[in-house]
């Protein structure tokens, strides 16, 4: 047995050739906290991938700062690098291997698997190499956003509609349900059968390992991992990997986009991404600016989010939708990083702690939330039923101060307040239970046409569930399926819906 192994090894070694020549080399002269300074390598390019030979291991690093006589590099690994270690150029920029095989996997920003399912790519399916830092699509390569991306959350799909190719920011304090909204968007993609399927990429930046594990389990149990990829750079990862994670997720999304498919990428969250970048910049002695962030902190996020687009038909018609998440401190949306990202994105979903503690979940402040794409990315059915919703809620917010004096108000004002309370109750939804488009259209239609007006507020949610169940069992083919497939509420379907609601009210 050992003789056979030796013979096999001998055969393999016999074909080995090695040509030695003078090569560029650098020497590590300073290291610590995930960065290093390298002398030599005067021909190294910015963002070039370097290899540090440390204790027999090859440690990847990125050329970050090109200074007069040294290079500041960020080390892309937790491996300890020592002073005196040799550094070699690769002549390549940092890239990740992408392909269909990534679907259902949990990976690092460098493409290494973190789950227990073995290696991702093999000799038979080597995948493609995508550079992490790629230029955004040109203006001429894009077309307007028209196809909706349904999150399954009534408040969003009706009043803050998101389109495929849009960048919609989710912003709020800690523990207000930002990640829950993003996960509902992922879970709802399997409900949204009337449109092409969406590949989802969840990028965890600086998150707790327990939270990432919980998210993986949740997606697994809902069978959502069959169309989802998770890129994880947890809080225990080096700052360099936390810095690269969003770009890796974006590169994966671009792979699907350039194939003519739709992809959704969630960056959770860019606040931690900015902190990681600040750490690297300060360690490399880049001049600190406002709040100690480096001067190019805007560019850090702008170049990332600009890569989300709806491509023209000439370029395949694919799309990459981005849902960046930003965590605010004490609801301060006028802070540095939040204002930066708000100015980059095509709208924001603003979550408030006060609403959350009042029991309004999702805690979306509809007044401050906006989608700059708007109804262009809404189905005709939803546009039809939800057109009055924003106005009714705006009127309710103005009149809310008078709620405590309801007995002293005229009938019309009381009706507006009552309508606002009802709509607020309708818009509440459980976490992890997104509702498909056709159900939301039915619910909104019923609510705005007075089907729940006579019910006490505490009975509204059970009534909504009953109505949906009734329509699902008795009117799946004549009401729900037409809405699902066409996205429209035609006159015949509307008439059938009106009749069905009336029948339900009689028996409920």
């Amino acid at each position: 047995m050992s003789y056979q192994l030796v013979e096999q090894l001998k055969k393999q070694i016999e074909g080995f050739t090695d040509q030695s020549a003078f090569e560029s080399v650098g020497i590590v002269i300073e290291t610590g906290d995930g960065i290093a300074r390298v002398s030599g390598l005067s021909r190294a390019a910015s963002q070039e991938l370097l290899i540090i030979d440390s204790a027999g291991q090859e440690v990847p690093a990125l050329a970050f700062n090109l200074e007069e006589s040294t290079i500041g590099v960020i080390i892309l690994s937790s491996t300890t690098v020592r002073v005196g270690d040799r550094v070699r150029q690769t002549g390549k920029v940092l890239s990740i291997t992408v392909g269909e095989e990534l679907i259902g996997r949990v990976i690092t920003p460098l493409g290494d698997p973190l789950d227990t399912k073995g290696s991702i790519f093999s000799g038979k399916s080597p995948g493609q190499t995508y550079v992490l830092e790629r230029p955004a699509p040109l203006v001429t390569e894009r077309e307007p956003v028209r196809t909706p991306l349904h999150t399954g959350i009534r408040a969003i799909d009706s009043m803050i509609p998101i389109g495929r190719g849009q960048r919609e920011l989710i912003i709020g304090d800690r523990q207000t349900g930002k990640t829950a909204i993003a996960l509902d968007a992922i879970l709802n993609q399997q409900n949204d059968v009337g449109r092409p399927p969406v590949i989802c990429i969840y990028v965890a930046i600086g998150q707790k390992n327990a939270k990432i594990a919980r998210i993986v389990r949740q997606l697994q149990e809902a069978d959502a991992l069959s169309y989802t990829i998770i890129v994880a750079a947890s809080a225990s990862s080096p700052a360099s990997l936390q810095y690269l994670a969003p770009y890796a997720g974006c590169a994966i999304g671009e792979y699907f986009m350039e194939q003519g498919r739709d992809a959704l990428v969630i960056y959770d969250d860019l606040s931690k991404h900015a902190v990681a970048y600040r750490q690297l910049s300060l360690l490399l002695r880049r001049p600190p600016g406002r709040e100690a962030y480096p001067g190019d902190i805007f560019y850090l996020h702008a170049r990332l989010l600009e890569r989300a687009a709806k491509l023209s038909q000439d370029k395949g018609g694919g799309s990459l939708t981005a849902l960046p998440i930003i965590e605010t401190q004490l609801s301060d949306v006028s802070a540095y990083i939040p204002t930066n990202v708000i100015s980059i994105t095509d709208g924001q979903i603003y979550l408030e702690s006060d609403l959350f503690y009042q029991g309004i979940r999702p805690a979306i402040n509809v007044g401050l939330s906006v989608s700059r794409v708007g109804s262009a990315a809404q189905t005709k059915a939803m546009k039809k039923v939800a057109s009055r919703l924003r106005l009714d809620l705006a009127q309710f917010r103005e009149l809310r101060a008078f709620v405590q004096f309801a007995s002293d108000l005229d009938e019309r004002t009381r009706a507006s307040i009552r309508r606002g309370e009802l709509l607020t109750e309708i818009l509440k939804q459980s976490d992890g239970a997104p509702t498909p488009l056709e159900h939301n259209v039915v619910i909104m239609y019923a609510a705005l046409n007075g089907a729940f007006d006579k019910l006490p507020l505490g009975q509204v949610q059970p009534a909504v569930a009953q109505l949906v169940d009734y329509i699902e069992k008795r009117h799946r083919e004549d009401i729900l399926q037409p809405i699902q497939t066409s996205g429209e509420l035609s006159e015949s379907v509307e008439e059938a819906l009106r009749q069905a609601i009336s029948n339900w009210q009689k028996i409920a």
């Binding site: 090695d18 560029s24 020497i27």
Partner: protein
């Protein structure tokens, strides 16, 4: 360290250029006191090395480091030295991690690695020893 060794070396050589040679010993003494005052006395070896490198470079020479896996015989070292010119600063060190062979580093920029360590690293990182896919 307050300044990197290269900065100290550059400053010293620039100062030496600006004064007559009679004043060089006094200038060097003041330089030593400066290093001590700045708290970099423990790094003096690195500073001296940087000064030597920059002086060599000024004279048109190269800083060459020859690493051998085992202590080399004197005649071997002498034959290696003959490869270089007079202004070149040549240092020979023993580095057992090379396993066998020799490695030349010129000006900390270029390297000619003829060691067995390099061959082994290349061998094990090549497709010859890749694990078959499952």
């Amino acid at each position: 360290m307050k300044y990197i060794p290269a900065i100290y070396a550059q400053a010293l050589l620039a100062a030496l250029d600006n004064v007559p040679s009679k004043q060089h010993p006094a200038l060097v003494e003041r330089f030593v006191r400066l290093i001590f005052r700045l708290g970099d006395w423990l790094k003096r070896d690195q500073i001296v090395k940087a000064v030597k490198e920059q002086m060599t470079k000024r004279q048109g020479g190269r800083t060459v480091k020859i690493e051998v896996a085992r202590p080399a015989a004197t005649h071997h070292i002498q034959s290696l030295m003959k490869l270089f010119l007079k202004p070149d600063q040549v240092e020979v060190v023993t580095n057992p991690s090379l396993v066998a062979g020799v490695r030349l580093t010129v000006d900390q920029e270029k390297e000619l690695d003829l060691s067995l360590q390099r061959k082994l690293r290349k061998l094990f990182s090549s497709s010859f020893f890749r694990q078959p896919s499952v």
